[in-house]
């Protein structure tokens, strides 16, 4: 099995305070991996380092064996990292279709001007096709021409997934997909995620507080606290580990 995404000894300091301490993790092709830990454990920081939102001074981030540590966000995206956001980030003033079309185009930048002149700015046939496919996959068929302001939070989150799928990612980073959703919505979201992951076969790195979602969705997990990787392994084992109890209940770890 090949490694899609890896961090090698990534450390991160904020004005002298250590947020990440030599974190090394790997995500294999098609694998669903969880990243868990209490508030302030450094999960978001690690996410931002992988995505390039924060610069990494110590350590390396690799994608498909290539060192991407110093690439800007949009280059990483084109190379195959997709993501969703905890507080959904959609493009205002746009329809669902617009979101998918621009994500598709951003990754195929050639001859944009020529195409624009030929189509007068309308989506091209292959873009319509690709976006229809993704919308169907996510059960958003009827919403293609809706402005995003009319979507529910759950639909918005699915649209983020759809948008990232248009770039054909090798690995998708899901940032707290359940936040702001209730139990029922979370369950529905999890079901959809499982389906599309099976269909498209991308790898997933999931940051999530909802233990249930992590347990049902991931096969393997990393536990992070105070910027250290405490333990890793099959999700069930991590959940039952003494480190997990310590991290979540605040008892001192007996090493």
């Amino acid at each position: 099995m090949s490694t899609v995404l890896a961090t090698r000894g990534v450390s991160k300091y904020f004005s002298g305070i250590m947020a990440l301490d030599r974190v090394t993790l790997e995500v294999n092709a098609g694998e669903r991996v969880g990243l868990i830990g209490p508030n302030g454990a450094g999960k978001t920081t690690l996410f931002n380092c992988i995505l390039g939102v924060l610069p990494v001074e110590v350590g390396e981030v690799e994608l498909n064996g290539e060192d991407i540590t110093s690439l800007p966000v949009h280059h990483r995206a084109r190379k195959g990292i997709g993501r969703t956001f905890q507080q959904i980030e959609l493009f205002a003033d746009s329809t669902v279709r617009d979101h998918l079309v621009i994500a598709y185009r951003a990754n195929r930048p050639r001859w944009a001007v020529v195409h624009d002149l030929l189509t007068l700015g309308r989506p091209r046939p292959e873009e319509m096709e690709a976006s229809d496919d993704v919308l169907e996959l996510l059960g958003l068929q009827g919403l293609a021409d809706e402005p995003v302001e009319r979507l529910s939070l759950g639909q918005g989150r699915l649209l983020e997934v759809a948008r990232t799928l248009m770039t054909n990612p090798d690995v998708v980073l899901l940032d707290e997909p359940s936040s702001g959703l209730d139990r029922r919505e979370t369950a529905a979201l999890a079901e959809t995620l499982v389906e599309i992951q099976a269909e498209r076969g991308f790898a997933v790195l999931l940051v999530e507080h909802d233990i249930e979602l992590v347990s049902s969705f991931t096969t393997r997990s990393y536990l992070l606290d105070f910027g250290h990787l405490l333990t890793s392994g099959p999700t069930e084992e991590v959940m039952a580990s003494p480190e997990m109890r310590a991290a979540y209940l605040g008892t001192a770890v007996v090493a």
């Binding site: 493009f91 979101h99 990232t164 919505e185």
Partner: protein, 687 residues
């Protein structure tokens, strides 16, 4: 040896000479930093506030016959703080959670509105030839020479001493008093200050009053430096002061003071020592002539571009910032106007042109032609601000590039003026692209300030170059084009040509915004981080937008001067005016091309139609029926549009879109099959 002594003397003299203007810059910079620190507002209106106090001071001292002291007390100690209080209470308090760009636009609006408003309300009309004076008698003529190298005028001395005392006082306030402590707390986090039981609103109102007091003080003290009562001068001084403030990353009071003082001294030093080189190096002459006026703008530009920490200087320091609701993106009110609606508008527009073409007299034809050319320039604002979400304050410079290209290529070199227009557009596009490449790491107010610095650099230096600005007499002989048998010397014909160019440009803007780059820009505007994370490069899209915007502005500028037959840089393209363009376009809607076109019509025709009351002449059939209180002062347009920006902050989509949204809301209510649910409740429902 003698040479060395004279160099030392010169040096000393230059330093002393630089101190008085330096303290003035420092004073303005400090007031400016004070507002920025305590309210987060980048207050361009600071210069306008200073101007207002200066006007009141002169009104009281000269016309009401008050003594200097009571007049100074009224204008600086009473009026200025009240004005600051009023601004905070009526305007900026409501903009706390507004995006920084709309706050910036509002402060630009106040910049143009306040001077006119004060002048009109006070009925201030200084006698021709009179010039501002200081707070002491014979301030200009009485001189003191404490060191025997440089004689300070009494005005300079007073200004310097008062400024230093004021700055020390401010330092003491922050260092030793409870009020200062509260202000520091509010600066860091208004929320946390409130958790301590202190009303952040009240503290922040106090801070506005205090900074406005500094504005008033600066306004009165620096008045004798100018020969006329002009708000422009105050705006210029403020741009220099921003350079001083930028040295301290806009938040450090001591650095702002040092920056101002340093700028004054550096300018004096350069002006003292530069000529020496050029005795032998004649080729340095143009450099020498232009270095001086460009220093502040080069410093400002340089600081913004090269100091990386600057951008993070403020914001994100409040640990409780998450309490505010996420910034509202401009609600989608217009998804597509629909072809029917567009066609209707086109028919109306063509109808209006037809009426003007066949019926209007020469004056009106020329006015409408100007409006059409202005429309092209304004489309450049639609692109850069409406689509790319950047505030550019150098559109005037781009338009001027087009105008000067027409003059240099068409008039001086005898090229066809229409070809010259296109070449001018290309040059401006290249300049704009280069500018935005330099600024590609920046967003928000930093782009606005950097472009402002460029605009002033262009204004102070480039326009005066003979290969750009040329000879002002010759600039009034721009020929009209001839295509085949059609001679555009005929004003009506030229109007038609201008309308065609406008139509082509508007179509281009429309296609650009629907095309790939337009989509990318809209995505970036909606959420920059999300756009980048699907692979969109922000800088590339923005460079494209800047280039197109520069091109349009230059084409518009070119058409404008061909229509007028001359390049009137001073009345058409100066930075202050370009700032007003932005405000007008923003008021009418910066997101659709139609907003730009309507804005241009208003901008040009407003004075004739409304201020001179001709519209009543038409309605009441006969010029004699125009009510007697017309004509109104032309300044009213500054006041109306300037204050209009306040409504922009609440409805960023502009007047046109606002009414369109209302129309849509009405029709939706009628349709009634789709119940408009409370968006909150809607968000809660499952997918």
């Amino acid at each position: 040896m003698i040479l060395a002594v004279s160099v030392v003397t010169d040096f000393f003299q230059a330093v002393l000479q630089g101190v008085p203007p330096g303290t003035v810059y420092a004073l303005v910079a400090i007031g400016f930093v004070l507002t920025y620190k305590t309210s987060g507002v980048f207050n361009f209106a600071f210069g306008a506030q200073a101007f207002a106090s200066m006007v009141l001071f002169h009104k009281a001292a000269d016309e009401w016959g008050w003594g200097t002291v009571p007049a100074a007390i009224l204008s600086v100690l009473i009026f200025a703080p009240l004005l600051g209080f009023l601004l905070e209470w009526a305007v900026f308090r409501h903009l706390r959670t507004a995006p920084p760009l709309s706050t910036l636009v509002v402060s630009l609006g106040l910049t143009v509105a306040i001077p006119s408003l004060v002048t009109i309300l006070l009925d201030f009309s200084p006698k021709s030839g009179s010039s501002p004076h200081g707070v002491v008698p014979d301030g200009r003529t009485v001189r003191y020479d404490p060191f025997g190298v440089y004689p300070f005028s009494r005005d300079e001395l007073v200004a310097t001493i008062v400024a230093i005392v004021a700055v020390l006082g401010l330092a003491a306030l922050f260092r030793f008093t409870p009020v200062g402590l509260m202000m520091k707390a509010v600066v860091e986090s208004p929320r946390m200050t409130e958790l301590n039981g202190i009303s952040a609103d009240r503290v922040s109102a106090g801070a506005w009053a205090l900074s406005s007091f500094f504005a008033g003080l600066a306004g009165v003290l620096i008045a004798p430096r100018f020969t006329t009562f002009s708000a422009n001068e105050y705006f210029n001084i403020m741009v220099i002061a921003i350079a001083a403030a930028a040295v301290g990353k806009l938040v450090s009071l001591p650095w702002a003071f040092g920056g101002g003082l340093g700028l004054g001294v550096v300018i004096a030093l350069v002006s003292t020592f530069l000529p020496r080189w050029t005795d032998e190096f004649a080729w340095l002459k143009p450099v020498q002539e232009n270095v001086l006026p460009s220093i502040p703008f080069v410093v400002l530009f340089g600081v913004i571009v090269f100091v990386p920490g600057l951008r993070k200087a403020i914001g994100s320091s409040d640990p409780l910032a998450g309490v505010d609701p996420p910034r509202q993106n401009v609600a989608s009110v217009i998804t597509s106007a629909g072809w029917m609606f567009l066609a209707l508008k086109a028919v109306l527009l063509l109808g209006a042109v037809a009426v003007v073409y066949t019926q209007a007299d020469r004056t009106w034809t020329l006015l409408v032609t100007q409006a059409v050319a202005m429309g092209i320039i304004f489309l450049s604002i639609t692109i850069i601000t409406g689509l790319a979400g950047q505030i550019s304050l150098c559109q005037g410079a781009f338009a001027a590039i087009g105008a000067f290209a027409v003059y240099q290529l068409g008039e001086v070199r005898g090229m066809s003026v229409l070809v010259a227009v296109v070449i001018g557009g290309a040059i401006a596009a290249a300049v704009a692209a280069a500018l935005s490449l330099t600024l590609r790491q920046l967003t928000g107010i930093w782009v606005a300030i950097a472009t402002l610095a460029f605009a002033f650099f262009f204004d102070a230096v480039l326009v005066k170059q003979s290969w750009i600005g040329g000879d002002s007499l010759a600039r009034s002989r721009i020929p009209r084009p001839v295509i085949g048998t059609i001679d555009f010397q005929d004003d009506s014909n030229f109007l038609l040509l201008a309308v065609i160019v406008l139509a082509v440009c508007a179509l281009g803007v429309y296609l650009f915004s629907r095309g790939t780059t337009g989509r990318k820009l809209r995505a970036l505007g909606g959420s920059e981080i999300a756009a980048r994370s699907v692979g969109i490069s922000p800088s590339r899209a923005r460079v494209a937008a800047f280039a197109l915007s520069g091109f349009l502005a230059a084409v518009g500028g070119g058409m404008l001067v061909i229509g007028q037959g001359s390049v009137n840089y001073g009345t058409s393209f100066v930075p202050f005016l370009a700032l007003f363009w932005l405000i007008v376009v923003v008021t009418f809607g910066v997101r659709q091309p139609s907003g730009a076109i309507v804005a241009a019509a208003f901008f040009i025709l407003f004075e004739s139609v409304f201020l001179k009351g001709e519209i009543f002449g038409w309605i009441l059939r006969g010029e004699d029926n125009i009510p007697s209180f017309f004509p109104l002062a032309p300044d009213w347009r500054y006041i109306l549009f300037g204050l209009g920006t306040i409504q922009y902050a609440r409805h960023p989509e502009g007047v046109l879109a606002m009414s369109a949204a209302k129309r849509r809301a009405r029709s939706e209510r009628r349709a009634a099959d789709k119940v408009v649910v409370d968006s909150a409740a809607e968000l809660g429902t499952p997918a």
